[in-house]
């Protein structure tokens, strides 16, 4: 036990006021919140608001901007590169998310089987998620090299190709290449979280279904999927959110090229704001992502609500 110093006689009154304050849950609660709230207000809430404001100004790096209303958005609406980035972002998010979900769910089902070295396999599967994205993206960059791609080499050796694929030089090749890298990065997250969901399903449900003569497919369709749906909703919202706002993979592998074919809204916003110096315009592009994010967050809330409801209203 800590030794509490005797307060000096003159300070007794003041310290009793203090100690009474410290017995109040509300006061103490507020004090405990100070570090977290201070950081979050200064570096999260305030920048969020500042971002809205910047999007309505013509601020350049190193200068003070003036308010120009929705002019940035008006000029963006006529900007074909911006619309291309919106298209790319949606394309990237839709295809990567669908495959991540499908492969992730399949992998989760496989990992839920009786397996030797189960925990080791799980640990290995999660590796792409743990390793810094930029560093693994560099590996993909090298795998997609136009002259020394190992994929091209393998396909040529197998007799399926006659010349090297220009992975990152052709717009559609580049789009599919970054989607594949994103799938690689995201599958482990989906798989491990869905696996955790699978393990909360009571085996007795499956036993009962077996006794009733259900096939594997029926068990999956009528037990696994409904029981898993709340966690699927949450995981996929996170996954969509991360994919939609991705920056690292694109910046590392293509920097938005070739001819803007892989620019996402995030990378375009970086290019206009930091590389190009137009903070206001870049902020406007970031702000244009917000409606999509709000939609995803609302979905997540419905998912959470539903999971609470399925667990019998437990808080």
């Amino acid at each position: 036990m800590a030794v509490i110093a005797e307060p000096a006689a003159a300070e007794v009154k003041r310290s009793s006021l203090w100690s009474r304050a410290f017995e109040s849950r509300h006061f103490l609660g507020a004090m405990f919140m100070v570090p977290a709230i201070a950081i979050l207000i200064l570096f999260l809430a305030y920048p969020l608001a500042l971002g809205f404001w910047l999007g309505m100004t013509d601020t350049k790096i190193g200068g003070v901007g003036r308010y120009i209303g929705f002019q940035n958005f008006v000029s963006l609406s006529k900007d074909s590169v911006f619309w291309l980035s919106v298209f790319n972002t949606i394309f990237y998010t839709v295809f990567a998310s669908i495959v991540k979900f499908a492969v992730g769910l399949y992998l989760a089902l496989l990992l839920n089987e009786r397996l030797p070295f189960k925990s080791m396999v799980r640990a290995i599967v999660l590796l792409p998620f743990v390793v810094p994205t930029v560093l693994s993206a560099i590996a993909f960059w090298w795998i997609y090299d136009s002259q020394f791609s190992i994929i091209s080499w393998l396909l040529i050796k197998a007799g399926l190709l006659t010349h090297y694929i220009d992975f990152l030089g052709d717009p559609w090749n580049a789009r599919w290449s970054v989607v594949l890298a994103n799938i690689w990065r995201g599958v482990p997250f989906v798989a491990i979280t869905l696996l955790a969901g699978l393990q909360t399903i009571s085996p007795s449900l499956y036993e009962a279904a077996n006794l009733d003569g259900a096939t594997n497919l029926q068990r999956f369709r009528h037990i696994t999927l409904p029981m898993l749906s709340p966690i699927i909703a949450v995981v996929m919202t996170f996954s969509v959110l991360m994919t939609f706002t991705d920056f690292q993979l694109i910046y590392t592998i293509t920097r938005g090229g070739p001819i803007n074919a892989t620019h996402l809204m995030a990378t375009l916003s970086f290019q206009r704001a930091i590389t190009g110096g137009n903070l206001g315009e870049g902020a406007a592009i970031s702000n244009a992502m917000i409606p999509f994010l709000v939609a995803a967050i609302l979905l997540s809330f419905f998912g959470l609500q539903r999971s609470r409801w399925q667990q019998g209203g437990r808080d």
Binding site: P35, A36, R114, S136, W153
Partner: protein, 291 residues
């Protein structure tokens, strides 16, 4: 928090090996090869001399005929890589500790003190987790510049907690919830202060949660890219991901050997840490989603 148990489903043990091989082991093996291949390729390229790296006619690209450390040597002695590594360590460790301190206090207050409005504050903090760095980096750059923090470690140490605190707080709230109230009540009756209760009862009992949060925060900060890319300009202040991308590429000349060496050695510390605490890591990840 449920631990992962090894319940297997139904009556799989009746299945014959060849059938199970086709249904489970083969697809699982293929997926694992797909997931591990980039690491293998990273490692092969790191230890391969340039002559072999660019000659697929004479050498089998999957193997290394004459392993070499020249790329690693070049990386460590001819570039600022050791400084990047040092910066990454400093930034990750500091922001992890700041975040853990702030999150423990906040989670304890929200979950245990239950002050007025704590539910709403908890919800607001959770919402903070959903604000992606790619919409914050522009205004944050302006703030960092105004505060005079531009191009220094402190810019990263202070901004990383914005995505670490929401996650850690949320995770720790879940852990604190599992500790029985009675323990705290007894201690209160015995005259312990709230601070003593936190440090002597709540924290020790939720140590796995604190470790999970710490590991997760550390790997997330080691992984961070967009803030470091935006707020840091001089080579000696960069972190590994940013340094590798911006400094190892000279115009159109890519030093693939050094790049792969940077990718490999930059990944190793987190992988080692992760492999020691993999169960904590997994439970943190799954717990956060399931909450």
């Amino acid at each position: 928090m449920t631990t992962v148990d090894d319940q297997s489903v139904g009556m799989d043990y009746l299945e014959s090996f060849p059938r199970k091989f086709l249904r489970v082991y083969l697809p699982l093996g293929l997926i694992i090869v797909f997931l591990l291949f980039p690491f293998y390729w990273m490692a092969v390229t790191t230890f391969k001399p340039d002559a072999e790296m660019y000659d697929y006619e004479k050498y089998n690209p999957f193997l290394i005929a004459h392993p070499t450390l020249e790329h690693i040597k070049k990386l460590f002695f001819d570039t600022d890589y050791p400084l990047w590594m040092w910066n990454t360590v400093i930034v990750s460790v500091s922001s992890t500790f700041i975040s853990l301190f702030a999150s423990v206090c906040a989670a304890y207050a929200i979950e245990r003190l239950r002050y007025k409005g704590s539910r709403y504050v908890g919800l607001a903090i959770f919402l903070g987790y959903l604000v992606p760095p790619s919409i914050l980096f522009i205004p944050l750059a302006a703030i960092v510049f105004q505060l005079g923090l531009f191009d220094g470690n402190l810019a990263l140490i202070l901004t990383y907690p914005t995505f670490l605190i929401p996650f850690c707080t949320w995770l720790l709230m879940g852990y604190f919830r599992t500790i029985p109230y009675e323990l705290e009540e007894c201690a209160l009756i015995d005259g312990a202060t709230r601070l003593q209760i936190l440090t002597k009862i709540t924290l020790p009992l939720s140590l796995p949660g604190v470790i999970s949060a710490g590991i997760f925060a550390f790997t997330l900060s080691w992984n961070e890219f967009i803030y470091a890319l935006t707020f840091i300009s001089s080579s000696e202040n960069k972190t590994i991901p940013v340094g590798a991308i911006t400094e190892l590429v000279n115009g159109d000349v890519y030093h693939w050997g050094a790049l792969m060496a940077a990718a490999l050695t930059g990944s190793v510390p987190v992988v080692i840490l992760y492999s020691f605490f993999v169960e904590y890591y997994v439970s943190a990840m799954t717990g956060a989603v399931k909450e």
